[in-house]
């Protein structure tokens, strides 16, 4: 998770006046921007800086791969970008709206409406079957978009089945996580991550334990989503993932090195 032992002083909270740093595509229409992110952890007396001033941006339809040695802060970065973790300094914006340093309810709304997160493992709630997992994620997104008013009984079954069909799991909708193979788990996780039709997809080592065939399939589905205009940020160390990326960001010791 963390990278470096350091006695570095606590990073300053990013001042509002600081000029916004953006990617090559410019920040004007960026789907996701991170501005001077700092994150440190405390273990006993030691302070570990996992992120030290990371700035990046992803444009709609763009695929960005984040690479770096294990423990360089990739997962921490992803957590901050998804609003699952709060940076100690710096700002994360989603489509111009600030995600960091907002109440959890607000961050949850942004996640539900715009962000899909694909983790390396444990994407499914173990006591719900695949269909229910997808429906739960889809309903969360739709509920928010319709202004918080429940419009009946959650996402229509047709939409859910369509999504499962797209990832090749149309016949495994009733299965539970413990009954799925590794490849199926990955595809089910992807279905859940895409359930809310997100503008931004964040993936953490989505193909880490997959064979080439499944990896190809997953990447293809992700690319489709990017083709539909979603911003895609993938934390990975797989060369095949890097190969499909429009841009590669290398993270080392909590800083962007390239």
């Amino acid at each position: 998770m963390s990278t470096t032992r350091t006695a570095a002083p606590r990073p300053p909270l990013a001042p509002a006046s600081q000029p916004r740093q953006a990617g090559e595509d410019g920040s004007g229409n960026a789907a996701l921007t991170a501005d001077h992110l700092y994150r440190f952890f405390r273990t006993g007396d030691e302070e570990i800086l996992a992120l030290r001033g990371v700035s990046l941006s992803v444009a709609p339809g763009e695929t960005v791969a984040v690479v770096g040695p294990s423990g360089c802060g990739k997962s921490t970065l992803l957590g901050c970008l998804a609003g699952l973790d709060e940076p100690d300094g710096g700002t994360v914006r989603v489509g111009g709206e600030r995600l960091s340093h907002r109440p959890e309810a607000h961050r949850a709304r942004l996640r539900a409406e715009r962000i899909g997160v694909l983790l390396q493992s444990r994407n499914l709630l173990p006591h719900l079957d695949v269909r229910a997992n997808v429906r739960l994620a889809r309903t969360a997104g739709h509920l928010r978009r319709s202004g918080g008013h429940a419009t009946g009984r959650g996402a229509p079954r047709v939409e859910v089945d369509e999504l499962l069909d797209r990832v090749g799991l149309s016949r495994r909708g009733g299965a539970y996580a413990s009954e799925l193979s590794g490849g199926e788990l990955a595809r089910a996780g992807l279905a859940v991550a895409l359930a809310n039709d997100p503008d931004i997809v964040l993936a953490d080592e989505p193909t880490g334990e997959l064979d080439g065939q499944t990896e190809k399939h997953i990447l293809q589905l992700l690319r489709e989503r990017a083709g539909a205009g979603a911003a895609l940020l993938v934390v990975t160390h797989s060369p095949r993932v890097v190969a499909i990326a429009d841009r590669v960001i290398t993270l080392h010791d909590g800083t962007v090195t390239s």
Binding site: G68, S70, G71, G182, G183, E209, D211, H237, P239, D253
Partner: protein, 291 residues
Amino acid sequence: MSSGTHHTPPPVPSPRSTHGETASPRGSTPLQTRPPQSAAEPAGLVVTCEGVARTFGEGERAVVAVHGSSCSVRFGTRTAIVGSSGSGKSTLLHILAGLERPTAGNVSWPGLSTTEHERQGQIGVVFQSPSLVPALTVAENAALPLVLAGLPEGETAERVSEALRLVHVEDLADQLPEELSGGQAQRVAVARVLARRPALILADEPTGQLDQASGQHLIDVLLATAEQIGAALVVSTHDTEVADRLDAQWRMQEGRLSLDDPDPRMSAGQIDQPAVPTTSPATSRSVGFRR
């Protein structure tokens, strides 16, 4: 925590070039090196499978993970099992490790102890998922097999620190597994196998959690160690780059094992043929640790 400075792995003794002369940094506890053998002499069998199959579940819902497959592994050989996920390579590896009982066929370990728990000690397994004891520190985890084997305390400590150093986690000796990243935990799991100096090393997707450089390094270490202690090494992987670094490749496809090696002597599916490995053959089942 890793300092992160090992982006590029430091040189590890290359398995081939340093054969026979590599010793541990401490002269007192050299990793045991097998005496060079004449190349013509076939090395002893470590494990052999005859028509093993493994079916999960029963009736209509039964899933066949491994179809009747035969194979054998000799001392000093380095084999990759290549296949896509769900192809049955993990199951086969577990059968070779004696962790999974085949539903059909036979598996035997002619080169290892006949007592089950002793044999288990002679087989080192690196699992795909984290396999450290959560309540023990990195050093204690790595020492476990040695403690089980009854090694004296001092020697245990030396071997453990040496093994941790080999995989670059010596700084993490006092950390608990929950404080490690996935890659670090995986390296500790490898160190635990190295410290034990087993006769057979089975690694299931050992580089799955690692970036490319660390993965390469880990394979280097595994190869070097296997060489030094004369152990047989079997690595399951979906990564062709990893597989290419091993001497032989077995291919698993939908539970069926096939030989994917230009060298027909590599004994997958045909155990009757004498298989002569290309590296350091061994005649005896001597395993590189002292009692």
